[in-house]
Structure formats: structure tokens, C-alpha cells
């Protein structure tokens, strides 16, 4: 935890509010630090887009992204319980779909279809 906080502090000047919400940015940094520390290697990351980092973000873009993030959070909150639980486990349980299957006793097909249904609902809520 302290390590993630310290990393956020040092990377704060790299945060671009037109590209990700603060929560998403914190999520990606926490995830990468966890992999770096637990598995002892730097996680392979896609290369940056050529236009890269902007010093003066466009306020309209920032507001649009904040609204999208709020809608996404709301859509996740209103998912059916079974679907939301599986999405949360997939992100914060450190488990692959097969491992979730082994732990919950649900067939892998059921897990995959529930996650797919949840993603469809989220997509629908965002269009």
C-alpha cells in the first residue's frame, strides 16, 4: 500500500485527465506495482501512442471522461449481483476464469457467460 502511494506521488505529473479517470489511473499503477513486486519483473506494457502526454488538457475532454466514468461506475453498481461479483473477482481476486471456476464450483462455461453478460450490459449502458 505504502509503495503504491509513493509510486503515485512520483508519477503524479504523468497523469493525463483526458485519457483516464483518477480511479483508473490508480488502478493501473497499483496493478503494475503489485506485479513488479510479487513476481519480480516489470510487466510488459504496450508502447505509448506517439502524440503522448499533453501539458494542457482540453477541459471538454476531461469533463466528458468524468461523465463516462460516473456512468460506468453506476452501470457496475446496477449489475445483477451474480454478474457483479464475478467481475469483481476477476479484477481483485487475482484469479483466472478457470481458477474462479475451481473456487466457486461453478462450471467454467457459466462463469464465462456471466462475465460476457455483464460486459454486454456495461457496453449497452455506455452507448
Amino acid at each position: 500500500m505504502q509503495d503504491v502511494m509513493a509510486t503515485l506521488w512520483h508519477k503524479s505529473h504523468l497523469y493525463d485527465p483526458t485519457r483516464a479517470s483518477v480511479a483508473t489511473w490508480i488502478f493501473t499503477i497499483a496493478r503494475n506495482r503489485k506485479i513488479d513486486l510479487l513476481r519480480k519483473y516489470a510487466r510488459p506494457e504496450p508502447e505509448d501512442l506517439p502524440w503522448g502526454h499533453q501539458d494542457t488538457p482540453d477541459q471538454a475532454d476531461v469533463i466528458a471522461l468524468q461523465q463516462d466514468s460516473a456512468r460506468l461506475a453506476e452501470a457496475i453498481r446496477t449489475l445483477p449481483e451474480k454478474q457483479r461479483t464475478l467481475i469483481e473477482r476477476a479484477y481483485y481476486g487475482d484469479l483466472t476464469h478457470s481458477e474462479i471456476a475451481a473456487e466457486t464450483g461453478l462450471p467454467l462455461g457459466t462463469i464465462k457467460s456471466r462475465i460476457r453478460l455483464a460486459l454486454d450490459r456495461l457496453r449497452h449502458a455506455m452507448t
Binding site: 510488459p44 504496450p46 506517439p50 460506468l72 461506475a73 457496475i76 467481475i87
Partner: protein, 214 residues
């Protein structure tokens, strides 16, 4: 840039966003996302889901010494800079990092008939390797015990299902038994991740399999 026709599947992209995949798969997906705007946009969506769930998580109590420890760490860490990374030659930057350079830095091992490979990473969960198939040549026919991802970096290949060119990714599972053939013209270079050893259909490649490490 050529149009990418074959994209990464949702479950693998979500697994990458969640940080739940083996290292070999992370490497192939990071390289594919570097080449594909579609995959990049979809990945941003999966990262956003991770962030949105984070916002909803209940707060936990921290010990009194937590702030002090954090401040000590902040002082101990160097400030982060953006390291400019760009594709040089046919390798996007995550692949350059794994190889330790561009295509000319690969330490190939011959598999016979002009086919070459280089294992980049192997652990108990999955392995990643580069494969070089001369133009017009076939790979041994094989099926899979687990999941195999093939990303084309140069040239193109065809199998029973379709044609795959630079940036395209093919995901095969145990139900698939295919014979990829490199197209005439340019030699084909692919980055492949497998989460279980391949199963070759012919007798000879099966004997060779333990020696080749594929």
C-alpha cells in the same frame, strides 16, 4: 499500416487488464496492443472497469505509522520520467525489451528446413517464443492442450481457417488442429505464447518435441 483483421479475445484482454495472466501472455498482448488501435481502445475500457470497481470498494483502517512509512518511501524513490518508446523495425517496444533489441538481436535456434525459433520466456504457467518460418513453408501440424496465441510481426501465414498478417492475432484452444503455412514472398516472423506444450500430430515431431522445448 495494414488493417488488422484478427483481434484479441475479450477474456484475454480483460485478464491482461486485471493482471491475472502469465508473463508470456502479457508479453504477446502488450505487443499486440502496441500495433492495434482497436485493442488499445478496448483495453482502456477494461482498465476503466478496474478503476470503477476500485471507487466502490469500502475503505479500510490504516495504522498510525502508515503515513510516516509512505513519506519515507517517497523520499527513497527516484522521480519517474516518461521513457520515449517507439517501434523500431518490426518489434514494438515491449518485444524489444524482452529480446534486448530489435529483430537482428534475436538468438535464433534452427528447427531444420530453415525454420527457427527463440524462446523468450518460459515458466510453469506459460512460455513465449519467436518463430521464423521461411516464405512458402509449412509449420508441423499440431493441436493444443491449452491456449495458444500467435501474433504476426512480419510476413503472413494461412491455416485452415483464415489468413493472418502483421498485427493479427490468432487464439487457438484445444479443439483446434491446424497447419499454418507461411505465404510466398516475405519470410514470416511470429510471437507465440502457449500455456501448455503443443501436441504435434506426426510421429517425428512428437519425438523432437521435448528437445525443441515447444
Amino acid at each position: 499500416m495494414t488493417t488488422i483483421r484478427h483481434h484479441i479475445t475479450d477474456d484475454l484482454l480483460m485478464g491482461y487488464a486485471a493482471g491475472a495472466l502469465p508473463r508470456a501472455f502479457d508479453l504477446v498482448i502488450a505487443t499486440h496492443v502496441s500495433l492495434s488501435d482497436d485493442a488499445r481502445a478496448r483495453l482502456a475500457g477494461y482498465d476503466a472497469i478496474g478503476g470503477a470497481i476500485l471507487e466502490d470498494v469500502d475503505a479500510v483502517e490504516l495504522g498510525d505509522e502508515s503515513l510516516e512509512l509512505t513519506l519515507t518511501r517517497i523520499k527513497g524513490m527516484p522521480a519517474s520520467e516518461i521513457t520515449p518508446t517507439t517501434t523500431r523495425g518490426i518489434f514494438p517496444s515491449p518485444l524489444q525489451a524482452a529480446v534486448g533489441g530489435g529483430a537482428d538481436a534475436v538468438k535464433w535456434r534452427s528447427l531444420g528446413m530453415g525454420t527457427r525459433q527463440c524462446v523468450l520466456h518460459a515458466d510453469k504457467d506459460a512460455s513465449a517464443r519467436l518463430l521464423y518460418i521461411p516464405a512458402g513453408q509449412a509449420m508441423p501440424q499440431h493441436s493444443h492442450r491449452g491456449t495458444e496465441m500467435t501474433l504476426v510481426l512480419q510476413g503472413a501465414y494461412r491455416d485452415e481457417s483464415d489468413r493472418f498478417a502483421r498485427g493479427d492475432i490468432e487464439v487457438a484452444d484445444q479443439d483446434m488442429n491446424h497447419t499454418p503455412v507461411a505465404e510466398a514472398g516475405e519470410d514470416c516472423i511470429c510471437l507465440i505464447a502457449t500455456d501448455a506444450p503443443l501436441r504435434f500430430s506426426g510421429l517425428l515431431p512428437r519425438i523432437a518435441q521435448p528437445f525443441l522445448g515447444i
